[in-house]
């Protein structure tokens, strides 16, 4: 009987030890965002006649929220996507609409205003110099805007190679963990720490590329597998800027990864949006330059020259000021006989400011309305991205808080448990001591 009493007591001490260990692990991981709170699974030991005969430690289990895991991964992917998407766009706003200095719209207006002034003083050297200066300024701003947007698109995807490397590293680790978890679970363990590690990696993959995983650790991106059981496929990136693309290597070749999410997807989308903006602005600038050139070529300069364009316009390249242009060959006059006093051709160029249909993107609008439409549409894109990022962050925060109520460590709860387990241990030890005393007393009496 005394052996039974000791065994019962010992089982209690072992259970308390296991609970202490779990609580200690919980307390030390209280600040670990990838940790799921652990608890000890206990079972009553049945003795003779089915009476209780101690407690058995079945194992350690972690708090799990499979549905929330998936939701959090999606929210995380969304938040990372919009963060990576909106930041380069926000920075590009200062290129299109600088808080100080001159934007393209102002440069165009200054150009037209300078022609208006020239129309009033066609023979005036300073009015001609102002036209030259305004045309140079317009082409310079057009070039720098195009170049800055191109650079911004490149920069937004500059980190893709590093992120792809991280994706591959994470995928490899998930595949390895899948193998280890299978082994642990086959041996009756629950592998809580390994599951935590895998969840953290899947979360990282969601954040990087919008990946999702099933309960067995199979990871995919938009339905394209990345980790299948214990095998990880390799992701690679090719191209540059907005033409960057992603491929996954399969045993039978490669498959194009379309519309990735997460940080990588956001960076690629940002590059595409910036390139689209650059194309729209280049088209606008080219339209203005062509219209000005056409009217300029209809007039005559002070030196009698004609058909000297103001701008050099080459397909696919930013416009440039015609190096042959000077104050003498700016065609203010409408006829050779009108030189030098006639400014009607300069007036006709100035009137292009209100001419509709100067750019085919807005047949009913003038140059400023086209520029306003481009900046306004870009502003709406940035605003939507910012709003989506804010919503995704709020959603992620809300879901994480909800998950944390199940899987997070509450210091108060753990410290209360600690007191309880301490009391349990003391009581069990006292019970073993009492049983020993009782057995000793019986032996003495015998």
């Amino acid at each position: 009987m005394s052996l039974n009493l000791n065994a019962i007591g010992l089982s209690g001490i072992l259970a308390a030890e296991a609970e202490f260990a779990a609580t200690e692990s919980n307390l030390t991981n209280a600040s670990n965002p990838n940790y799921s709170v652990e608890s000890v699974n206990l079972e009553t030991l049945a003795g003779a006649g089915g009476a209780g005969a101690g407690v058995s430690v079945l194992g350690v289990q972690r708090a799990d929220t499979p549905f929330l895991d998936s939701e959090i991964n999606q929210a995380n992917a969304s938040q990372s996507f919009y963060s990576a998407y909106s930041q380069p766009l926000q920075a590009a706003e200062n290129i299109v609409a600088p808080s100080s200095g001159t934007d393209l719209g102002q440069a165009v207006q200054t150009l037209f205003d300078s022609f208006s002034n020239l129309a009033a003083s066609p023979g005036d050297a300073s009015a001609r110099s102002s036209v030259l200066s305004a045309a140079a300024n317009f082409s310079q701003i057009a070039q720098s805007t195009s170049s800055d947007l191109s650079q911004a698109a490149e920069q937004s995807v500059a980190g893709i190679a590093t992120m792809v490397g991280q994706v591959n590293q994470d995928a490899q680790q998930v595949a390895q963990l899948n193998g280890q978890i299978i082994v642990e679970q086959a041996n009756g363990g629950s592998a809580p720490a390994l599951l935590d590690q895998r969840d953290a990696l899947v979360n990282d993959l969601a954040s990087l590329i919008g990946a999702s995983a099933d309960s067995n650790g199979n990871v995919s991106v938009n339905g394209t597998p990345l980790v299948s059981g214990t095998a990880a496929l390799t992701l690679s990136a090719s191209g540059s800027g907005a033409s960057s693309s992603l491929q996954i290597a399969l045993p039978q070749g490669t498959i194009q990864l379309s519309q990735p999410g997460g940080e990588i997807g956001g960076a690629l989308s940002a590059a595409a949006s910036l390139t689209s903006l650059q194309n729209s602005l280049n088209s606008f600038v080219t339209s203005v330059a062509n219209a000005v050139n056409a009217q300029q070529e209809a007039g005559y300069g002070l030196d009698g020259s004609t058909r000297v364009p103001i701008f050099e316009v080459t397909d696919g390249e930013p416009i440039a000021l015609n190096p042959a242009l000077n104050t003498q060959n700016i065609a203010a006059a409408a006829s050779a006989s009108g030189v030098p006093g006639d400014g009607s051709n300069a007036g006709a160029i100035a009137a292009l400011a209100s001419a509709v249909g100067i750019d085919s993107s807005l047949p009913t609008g003038n140059a400023q309305q086209v520029f306003a439409q481009i900046t306004s549409q870009f502003g709406a894109t940035v605003q939507t991205a910012q709003n989506n990022q804010t919503q995704a962050a709020a959603s992620l925060n809300s879901l994480t808080t909800l998950q944390s109520s199940t899987t997070g460590v509450s210091l108060n709860a753990e410290l209360t448990n600690l007191i309880q387990y301490q009391n349990d241990l003391q009581a069990t030890t006292q019970a073993v001591q009492a049983a020993n005393n009782m057995v000793s007393y019986i032996i003495q009496e015998l």
């Binding site: 709170v37 200062n94 006093g341 006639d342 940035v382 109520s405 509450s410």
Partner: protein
């Protein structure tokens, strides 16, 4: 529902970030005095402001140009008035020279007077403003009249059209107003001077009608210039009104309601202080002390 300590810190950090972002935006707006500082602040308002700013620039430019043209026309009109006075003098001189009682010596003196009038008229016809000759037609870089009254300008005239379509003359065909050494006013004055020098009273008398015609021509030119001045004044007035209206519209669209923003900034600051104070409270974990 159990609350994990980590989630409390995470939520606090999230809330602080949100409040600080809002606070930063409000402070930026207060700093610039504008509600719309970039396209994403209000895309529609920003687009409208682009168009309005361009209209404002063009309207201001028109006002500046109109004021410059107004100055020019006022000066030139003054020159024409002086020329009219000189022609009236010439008519008096011609009338005196045609009188039979005028002696040959007196006619020589009158001829010298007409020489002065001729110089004065040619000088008015060679009026230059801001580096451009006004009565040379399209030829604005060279003086249209020589000292002898020969005309080298063109028969055209330059005009300027304002944004609202109003058009005014910048230069005039001098020959149509003043004639040249052989015709018109200058031709008549030259003939008058010769007749006076020759003592030919009938020839002097014959110039009177030409002088009257010349006076009318100059008066007509001055009247046309007066009409242009009225047009320019009207452009200045209309465009100034336009500028005021555009500025008011722009202000409504992009300017900040400072009172509202200040109130919002105070509420956000208070919220930030409350969250910071709450964070300080999180440092206390009583149970840890109990266990210890």
């Amino acid at each position: 529902m159990p609350i994990s300590d980590l989630s409390m810190y995470d939520s606090l950090s999230y809330s602080l970030d949100s409040v600080l972002n809002a606070l930063q935006q409000t402070e930026t707006q207060l700093g610039t005095g504008k509600r719309v500082n970039s396209p994403s602040d209000d895309p529609v308002a920003y687009g409208t402001s682009v168009v309005l700013n361009a209209q404002l620039s063009a309207a201001n430019n028109d006002v500046n140009l109109a004021q410059a043209i107004q100055g020019k026309l006022t000066t030139v009109s003054g020159q024409l008035s002086s020329a009219s006075t000189a022609i009236e003098t010439a008519i008096q001189v011609a009338t005196q020279g045609a009188d039979a009682s005028t002696s040959a010596t007196e006619m020589q003196t009158l001829a010298q007077q007409i020489g002065g009038v001729l110089d004065s008229v040619i000088s008015a016809a060679d009026t230059k403003y801001d580096g451009a000759y006004v009565f040379g037609g399209n030829q604005t870089l060279t003086a249209p009249y020589s000292a002898s009254g020969a005309y080298s300008g063109s028969s055209g005239s330059n005009t300027f059209t304002f944004m609202d379509g109003s058009r005014v003359h910048l230069t005039y065909d001098g020959q149509a107003i003043f004639g040249d050494s052989n015709s018109g006013l200058i031709g008549t004055l030259t003939a008058l001077q010769k007749a006076l020098n020759a003592g030919d009273q009938s020839a002097v008398s014959a110039t009177l009608s030409g002088l009257q015609t010349g006076l009318q021509q100059v008066a007509l030119a001055n009247a046309a210039m007066g009409a242009d001045l009225q047009t320019v004044s009207s452009v200045i007035s209309n465009q100034n009104t336009n500028v005021t209206n555009i500025q008011a519209t722009l202000s409504n669209i992009v300017d900040l309601d400072v009172a509202q923003a200040t109130s919002q900034e105070q509420a956000q600051s208070l919220q930030e202080q409350a969250l910071t104070s709450f964070a300080a409270g999180l440092q206390r974990v009583p149970l840890v002390d109990i266990i210890a």
